[in-house]
Subunit: 319 residues, 2 copies
Amino acid sequence: MPGEFELIRRHFSRPAHGAVLGAGDDCALVAPSVGMELAISTDMLVAGTHFLPGTDPCHLGWKAVAVNLSDLAAMGAQPRWILLAISLPEARDEWLAAFAEGVFACAARFSVELIGGDTTRGPLNLCLTALGEVPPGEALRRDRAVAGDDLWVSGQPGFAALGLAHLQGRTRLAEALAARCVDALNRPLPRVELGLALRRRHLARAAIDVSDGLLADLGHVLDGSRVGAEVLLAGLPQPIVGVEAELARRCQLTGGDDYELVFCAPPAQRDQLVDLSADLGIPLSRFGRVVDAPPGSLRVIDEHGQPFGIATRGYEHFA
Amino acid sequence: MPGEFELIRRHFSRPAHGAVLGAGDDCALVAPSVGMELAISTDMLVAGTHFLPGTDPCHLGWKAVAVNLSDLAAMGAQPRWILLAISLPEARDEWLAAFAEGVFACAARFSVELIGGDTTRGPLNLCLTALGEVPPGEALRRDRAVAGDDLWVSGQPGFAALGLAHLQGRTRLAEALAARCVDALNRPLPRVELGLALRRRHLARAAIDVSDGLLADLGHVLDGSRVGAEVLLAGLPQPIVGVEAELARRCQLTGGDDYELVFCAPPAQRDQLVDLSADLGIPLSRFGRVVDAPPGSLRVIDEHGQPFGIATRGYEHFA
């Protein structure tokens, strides 16, 4: 059986032209662009918590990178480099080959380079660190929303959570819908281009990516900005058809894993955001507004103007 | 039980004055020094592989940071920032408090700031990422050793491995020696000042930190530089007394976890290195030389000038 270092070389050593020194030394070396700030994020994915045991390793590789790039997207940063630490119960060549394929496919799609990492033995665990660049003072933070801002969300939140419910047998989707939902779960597309455009065109005041649930992550923006929000279900994308309405709604409001962006923008930007949506081919839905209310407080209003009760806002690891 | 976000806030949110934006958003933001290269390293520590289950969480926090800073030391980089991703089977307040104490103690000792991270549920796993700065072209790499260079090692490699042998009941050390060895295992001191001095004074051509074993890590330098080496046992620090001689020697040659530096320097630097050792109060031992031989090849010579047989060079995770 090949040793640790041979395995790393075989599957993860590819030239990193955007780095001064890529994988293989004590550290990677990079030369940041002069005058830019660095945005850095680290995310850990654990079998059974973030993905189902037995998940296709190629999907897993893609998703590990995508989840991390989503954090850069939410700051409006240009992704540049990633590092990957991985713990594996056993080093199977075939598994590693498929996993690396997913990692490099996602990295290539978003023009980032794998510049280093670590491989060790242990329960399956993936830890990605991503670095991106953003002009000073322009990052999209969580703490800049103000009362009066519109709430926006990209894409169709809820598909990934429905995919998970389907895989876990909690619902039974028709074949085509199941395929779409499971794909959303397995191969999320981080909204890098959207985050960059929001930042460059100065359209959003605050942003976050939806990893724990639309309401949960919106709640972090509200906490950080010390404001409340009014969420209008009528403003969200049409609930997915072919599913129990209540499940579809719950997945939309509290399902994570789609890695859509939620952002707060002044009403004066509405026309520009509609144009941006068309330019990028990404649906953008205006689903409420930021209000002057106790920090973190949320009022959800249904299509009939009535308060809509929710038991939970999303996923908490130790709740 | 407090939720994930409350736990993170409670134990890991401290102001990071050296960052534009610390923990709590999608990404941390930092402003790298103009004209410097960034050295970046990520290391994963797994219970049962890198530390004994039941290790004091304060020691664990210290060690997780120390191991990572050691990689920066081996490049001659000035440590600046760290990120910490952690997976825990359960979130116990007391454990987290002690762990955070160790993390922040090591960070303070080496003037780095914790700027972000991730907390999740799963088998105990710690993934640290460290960032440091180094002037362009001056990092101490693995691939720059040349035949004729001297081999040097800092400190007393072998103490940590002996400490582990003691804790595992493979040997029985006297109380004072046991305390010293276990301390070397639990609270390694990364050789940051040494790495910086070697780089600033241009004394070393190539360097690596000893994490997997003196011979194993030296082997990576030899592989990278496409050279061989002759190791003289007479040049290494005196084997530790009060231990079976064979175990002491094995720990010295193949034990990891001391996080000493091995480096290659031209013979013309000998006097300066002796001065540096005195300046820093760190023992430096000249234990052989780089030779023109098959890449990665090692000849170990005992005190009588005879070849010394070794079964293994160090630790390999999947060997």
